[in-house]
Structure formats: C-alpha cells, structure tokens
C-alpha cells in the first residue's frame, strides 16, 4: 500500500525532475506522442519502484537510466500505455515551439551524429544535452567511471571521424564568396 508520505515524496521528486525528464524524452523522440509515452512510462515505473528511487540529485540520474530503458523498449515497439491526452497536447506545444536547426553545418553535424551507434550517440548526448559528468554517467549507465572514460573517448573519436567523413563545413555561400 502506498501511503500519503509515499505520495508526497513521489510528488516532490516528480516536480523536481519533470522538466529534465521531459527534456530528455523530447530531445530523443521525433514525435510528441512518443515523448509523452516515454515520460509517462518512466514515472509509472518510478512509482512502482518507489523503494528503489534514490534521494536528491541521484533521483534524477536514476530516472535517466529508467527513461533510457523505456526509450529502448519504445523503439522496439514494446510500449503502449493509455495516453493522458492533456499531456500529449502539452508536449506537442513544446515541439511546436521549437525550430529545427538549419544551415549546412547543422545538417552535416546532425548527419554525422546520426551515423553513430545508438550507444555512442546516447553517451555523447548525455554529456552535451543533460550535462552529465563522468561520475553521473557511471550512475546512469551503471558502469565504472573508468569504463565511462574509455567509452567516451572512443565515442568522441568515432564522432570526429564521422564528421570528417561528412566534412563539417561552413555555409557554402560564405565560402564561395571568397
């Protein structure tokens, strides 16, 4: 049985972490419905596993780890929950308010980034988008700090190569006007 204390504690974590977990999902899902599913399932799991939910900032890291698994299941088509319509609508507004990047350089970086394996991409995203450091990455991914260091180094190398292959470049108009 969940008590009022459980509920209050969950609500506090929810309020503290919601924008970050939402951001995590929005940055990785092409469609608002998918982001809504990931956010909803992540918190549903957190509520079911309240006994495992750590305190403080650790809660956020733990939730990233859950969201990461949820996202993987979602991509495999294994996730289907009843949707909270209001939530989907609210997240759709977030998408509507964003403008896709433009420019040759943006597209080239985006392409090189997409060429990476899911693992490399996620690692680099957690650093660049969620701002995680080695210790935090180790918690989210449940691996040692040393493993984080090595994987990150390799991911960065591969990204640099992908960029080089595609040629991260400047706006052609600027270049041609030399």
């Amino acid at each position: 049985m969940r008590t009022e204390t459980d509920r209050a504690r969950f609500e506090a974590v929810y309020t503290d972490t919601y924008d970050q977990i939402l951001g995590y999902a929005v940055r990785r899902c092409e469609r608002p419905e998918d982001a809504a599913d990931v956010v909803a399932e992540t918190y549903a799991i957190a509520w079911r596993r309240l006994d495992r939910l750590p305190e403080g900032d650790e809660a956020r890291l733990w939730l990233y780890g859950v969201a990461r698994n949820v996202l993987a299941n979602h991509r495999r088509g294994r996730l289907r929950r009843e949707r909270v319509a209001e939530l989907t609508a609210e997240i759709a507004d977030v998408y509507a308010g964003t403008s896709g990047g433009d420019g040759v350089e943006f597209r080239d970086i985006a392409r090189a980034f997409r060429e990476l394996s899911d693992g490399d991409r996620e690692l680099l995203s957690l650093v660049a988008w969620e701002g995680l450091d080695h210790a935090q990455l180790a918690k989210v991914l449940d691996i040692s700090r040393n493993a984080v260091r090595i994987r990150l180094h390799r991911a960065r190398r591969r990204f640099a190569k992908a960029l080089a292959r595609g040629g991260v470049t400047v706006n052609h108009v600027v270049m041609e006007s030399l």
């Binding site: 092409e30 469609r31 294994r78 209001e86 977030v94 990047g101 988008w129 640099a160 052609h172 270049m175």
Partner: protein, 289 residues
C-alpha cells in the same frame, strides 16, 4: 564539434513544465495506480508486456489493408510500384521539385520526403542522409539504378529507391543526383580518391604553397575552408565569420574535398598540429568509401 545545437529543446526552456495541466494530469494518473505487492512484480511485468505486445500487433495490423491501397502510382518525377514486400520507386526526373516525389509516396500511403542533392559523381544515387521515426527493421533500402549499375547521367538510367511496405511515419531521405553546371556539390567527397579531381595527389599535412601549383596546374579552382581544430587535435569546428581571413602559403592543408565540377575545397588552418584534426590522426591513405 558541438552537438548542443542538435538538441530540440534545452532543459532551461522547460523550466516550470511540471506545473502544466498535462504534467499534473500525468502525476495524478500515475499515483492513482496501486502498485502490486513487491514479490509479484516480475509476473506482473511479464503479463503487462504480453498485453502490450497484443495491443501493438493489433494496432500495427490495422492500417495494412491490402487491396484498398493503390499498388502503383507515377508522375513526371517518379513512378512507384509495389513489388512483393517492397515499394520500388524509379526516379525519372532527378531535378524535380521534392514535392513531386512526396506526391508519389503519398499516393501509396507513405510519408516520405525525398530530396535529391547535387553531388560529386561518386555519390550519385547514394544515400547521404536519412532520418525519421518508425522506420521498420532494416529501414530504407537503396538498390541502385535500373538497369543495374548504369550511369545516372545517361538517358534511360533511373535511380531507384526501395522501402519495405510496412514503413510508417514520416521519413526523410537525401541522396546524390548529378549536379547542374556550376552547382555546388553537397556530399563533401574526398577529392584525392580514385576518380576524384585530385586523384593521385597527396595534400594532407602539406602547406598551401606546396599544393596550389599542382592543383591549379590541373586547371582547377580552389576554395578554402578555414577550420578551427579542437585543442586535443581530434575534430574541428568551422566559424562562418572567419572564412574571409586571407589564407597564406604557409597555412596547412588537412584535406581536399570536391566543391563542384572544376573546383576543390581545401580544409586549412594557419598552424600545424601534431594530428590531422579532420581524422584525429594521419589521414588514411586508403580511405576507400
């Protein structure tokens, strides 16, 4: 090599999102669930997955109503025909407005955005960018040309795209097409490769002054791209604002790309570094594809 700008949204932009009506509705829906007692959890999860799998199967099956959708469509840009488990599109006009391709895909129930970008000869008919959600396992398949291995510049040779029939959701594909005269290539191909405009010439790690005579001797025009190598020598950035800086003969060339027919682009920096920042080390001399 900054990827922060690839983020659709930043956390700071979402501050306070937890107080939105949707976020509150989710919170209420979640805490309304009474979790199963601890020891039963594994079974509960298994059952839930089974139910979800059935639900997914039903949902996926529903839109595929064979016999109700057309099995072919064509306009002046492309024709598409269903062949077994795949849609096969033959591009009849590589210079067509992308909307014309979209119209063909739409006619058979696909939401595909196909863009053909001018490219160096070796990238014609090659996919250089794809994206989108809900592509099936294996995703988009490019099968080359029809007839096979023909020259896309020749009449009677069509570029072909192939997609599994169960492709769903929006999908984006960018592939190379022949460039019109004077049009810039978008594929950043290595110009020193076999078949390239600088075939047989090594430019990496040489100075601008060393390579220019040879390049100009081939009757080629040169454009420079000034790069900002990362401090660790692994990767680089490009500052559009710095591109008009005059490039001296002592500058270092790190790579050469096809810019357009008759022109190559040299990636340069003013100072020599221990590592080639384009490759994070020596440029592989056998770079293949």
């Amino acid at each position: 090599m900054s990827i922060d700008k690839l983020a659709r949204v930043r956390d700071e932009d979402l501050r306070g999102a937890a107080s939105g009506a949707g976020a509150r509705a989710l919170l209420n829906a979640v805490v309304a669930e009474e979790p199963a007692p601890e020891r039963r959890r594994p079974r509960r999860v298994v059952r839930w997955v089974a139910v979800a799998a059935v639900a997914t199967a039903v949902a996926v099956a529903a839109p595929i109503v064979i016999g109700h959708e057309p099995t072919s469509y064509a306009n002046s840009a492309m024709e598409i025909v269903r062949e077994g488990d795949h849609w096969v599109g033959r591009i009849t006009d590589p210079y067509a407005n992308p909307e014309r391709f979209a119209e063909v895909f739409r006619a058979v129930g696909l939401d595909v955005r196909l863009e053909l970008a001018p490219s160096s000869p070796r990238s014609i008919g090659r996919v250089f960018q794809t994206g989108g959600a809900h592509t099936p396992e294996g995703g988009f398949t490019y099968v080359g040309t029809d007839p096979e291995n023909c020259d896309a510049l020749e009449p009677g040779c069509a570029m072909v795209v192939k997609l599994p029939v169960d492709t769903s959701g929006r999908f984006f594909v960018k592939m190379g097409r022949p460039a019109k005269p004077g049009e810039d290539y978008q594929d950043h191909a290595d110009a020193t490769r076999k078949g390239g405009q600088l075939e047989g010439l090594r430019v990496d790690e040489k100075t601008v002054g060393e390579v220019l005579p040879e390049i100009r001797g081939r009757g080629l025009e040169v454009v420079f791209q000034i790069i900002d190598p990362n401090p660790d020598g692994d990767g680089f950035g490009v500052d559009p604002g710095k591109q008009s800086t005059p490039v001296g003969d002592h500058w270092i060339v790190w790579d050469a790309e096809e810019a357009r027919k008759g022109a190559v682009r040299l990636l340069v920096s003013e100072h020599r570094l221990d590592k080639n920042p384009v490759y994070g080390g020596p440029k592989p001399q056998d770079s293949g594809d």
